[in-house]
Amino acid sequence: MRPTNRIHRLLVIAGPSCAGKSTFLRKLENGSYPHLTQRLNVGDPSQLTTVYAKDAVDFDYRAHRNVLFHYALPFLSFRQKTLKGYEQDRRLDILGRADWVTIISLFADSETIHKRIRKRLIKLVFSLIRRPFSPAPQREFRRLLALRGLY
């Protein structure tokens, strides 16, 4: 059978940074939410492939029938206010590849989100002190500063 770029079932996990998307994904994959996976009809959660938004455009979708898509919604960023709408976001083209889409949006109050961003920034500062030239913490640090309108 010819490999196809089509996704059978796509679960979009959307929410602002620090809303708990990664925690939710991890728990969904390791079977912590049997009630939810049953309701979502996704079969064996360990067979789901996770795709992060940054990789979505170039990802090779062949042989990945059921996909979890991690998508951060813009939040309180002066920079991101200038972004065009979701319609212009090419990473969301993944939705057009799927035979069936389920969108799960996570929302948290802004006070909690701000506290979590602050905590994550502090952790990243310590991480950068330990490994000052590591690119991943640097990128994450800049991203979080941007979310708080500081970068």
Binding site: F24, T102, I104, S105, A108, T112
Partner: protein, 55 residues
Amino acid sequence: MCAKWINYCDTLPPHDRFLIDFRTFPDLLSADERGTRLERTATQEKLRLILDKSL
């Protein structure tokens, strides 16, 4: 942010849609947040999914 995202979702072809309410989903709380919030959510359903249509 929320409204824009929901408006965008409204333009998509038919799909399932759920909103997970952070306050009624203690699993998404960190240990220090859980201490204060669980008291408020203890009597509520642990996992509460609300169809977007009900927003």
